[in-house]
């Protein structure tokens, strides 16, 4: 397989853009990426468009990718619609990467776009529930429930097992809200304190509103090409896709003692990229709930069991730390337009690796970074989709 590089990224800010349809959100991200890459629509050989709940929320049940791309002047080429819940955009990137790596395409485009503000929050929440297996969502389970008590994460049990406190749960959101306050693209730009987070409205005991990623409109895009062609289009530093791993959840019985799927996905990504977690210099990970970040530190091999809060207390994962996590503000602060998040993570890491991240720039420009993304929920305990992408310069 050929070496593949990202030569351009673009994004539409996350937030509430009620008047903008999917194709408008997409246009800003797509042309941002095309211009950044120095390519024209005619240069794109194939495209993958990630979107999860646009059918339910906008009514455009089919062919959303073609609709979005035609609006941006991209037609005729192979276009694939990608639905993989909150990891749709990461999966779209994988599709674009594979096209080029395999030689089927020289230049490919990955887009992620989501529109969640449709004037009816209840409809949006119901659509979000539809990325969990229906047997669960029909009984009123929400994603916040799954973080609180689901055997897979079971944050309540961690309080007993590790001695984590409610303040510990809030710490990733404090860190990420500060990072988000420095990010012009972020939905939430107000730094929050532990008190504000802990005292916000309880959604599902003991998880509070400010610990949750909020609903968002947004979009992001990336142009990838064969490494040997990059200089044809741009003189900017090409960012190498060192590995791009996709996995699905596995069915687990109560006595299942296999490694968590987020861990196995990360391990596969490390192995394919020839690195270990100690080599990471920046991470964008899936903080759908702030305390999930504490669990993900363990699962990605950044610390041992229960040590997540210490990593934040010691400053390791803050912007000035050894391995900044969620410099963009993460899902909680930057926002979580579900079908776009995976590429918003990639865009952030590309900007950080190029030194283009403005006020939130990691001082020592990262040379090795990981984007971790997941989504959906299945019977049998696991999430439906797990994704890990490692970038290198």
């Amino acid at each position: 397989m050929r070496e593949v590089v990202i030569i351009g990224v673009g994004a539409h800010a996350t937030g509430q853009f009620a008047e903008k349809p999917l194709k408008e959100l997409g246009y800003t991200a797509i042309w941002g990426a095309l211009d950044d890459a120095g390519v024209s629509p005619a240069d794109i050989d194939a495209a993958y468009v990630g979107n999860s709940i646009g059918g339910l929320l906008t009514g455009q049940e089919g062919v959303r990718g073609q609709v979005v791309l035609q609006h941006s002047g991209i037609t005729g080429i192979p276009i694939v619609n990608v639905e993989n819940a909150c990891a749709s955009a990461a999966t779209a990137l994988r599709g674009a990467w594979l096209e080029v790596a395999s030689g089927a395409a020289d230049v490919a485009l990955a887009v992620g776009v989501e529109k969640m503000f449709v004037g009816d929050t209840a409809r949006t929440i119901a659509a979000l529930s539809a990325v969990s297996e229906l047997d669960l969502s029909q009984m009123g389970m929400q994603f916040t429930t799954s973080y609180a008590i689901h055997p897979k994460i079971n944050l309540k049990a961690r309080m007993k097992e590790y001695g984590w406190t409610i303040a510990d749960f809030a710490k990733p959101a404090v860190k990420n809200s500060y990072n988000g306050s420095l990010n012009p693209l972020a939905q939430h730009r107000r730094p929050l304190s532990i008190e504000q987070i802990v005292q916000s409205r309880v959604v599902v005991d003991p998880l509070t509103l400010y610990m949750c990623a909020s609903i968002s409109d947004g979009a992001a895009a990336a142009v990838v090409c064969s490494a040997d062609m990059a200089s044809k289009f741009t003189s900017k530093t090409p960012i190498r896709v060192a590995s791009c791993v996709l996995r699905s959840g596995v069915y687990r019985l109560p006595d299942d003692d296999r490694l968590d799927t987020a861990s196995t996905t990360a391990q596969a990504a490390y192995e394919a990229a020839g690195i270990g977690p100690e080599d990471l210099e920046a991470v964008e990970l899936h903080d759908a709930m702030a305390p999930a970040e504490l669990m993900l530190y363990e699962r990605l091999g950044l610390c041992g069991p229960g040590e997540g809060p210490k990593l934040i207390d010691d400053g390791v994962t803050t912007l000035r730390g050894r391995v900044p996590v969620n410099p963009s503000g993460g899902l909680c602060s930057r926002g979580h337009p579900v079908g776009a998040t995976g590429l918003l993570q990639i865009a952030e890491l590309v900007w950080q690796m190029r030194g283009e991240a403005g006020e939130r720039q990691i001082q020592k420009r990262p040379k090795v970074a990981m984007a971790q993304n997941q989504g959906g929920l299945l019977l049998g305990q696991d999430s439906a989709v797990y994704s890990c992408t490692i970038l290198k310069t």
Partner: protein, 147 residues
Amino acid sequence: MNVLHRESIFLPPDGKQTPCLLGSRCDKCQTVVFPQMPVCPACLTNGAMQTVEIGRTAKLFSHTIARFAPAGFKAPFFQVFVDLPEGPRIFSLVGAACPIEPGVLEDGMDMRLVLEPLADTPENKDLLTYKYVPAAMHGESGRVRHA
């Protein structure tokens, strides 16, 4: 009344039996799963799954109180995972006999199956489903309770 997940619940035709859940047990490796599946997820054998009655009792694995309700539900309400003695660990709601307060439920508690309306809302009050209540609060051996 309509029944949510009808194929997963055994409704006794008369008063001589109690309701229960219907799962699958693999003839080859004896693994029991809920809901029913045609392929055993443990040994991946196709066509060896038999329907089995399960879940009349359970042990509480984890619990929380949802303070925000999705459409069709009323907050606050319990959301739990329970361990069935036959093997599966499943998501469930809690029956109306159980007061919705912190400290009422304790992980590890013995629970009993009941059949009750999904939620006390216009959309769901006529839809029956399985729930669990603490054994100490269990009244009529799992007989159907009407809203």
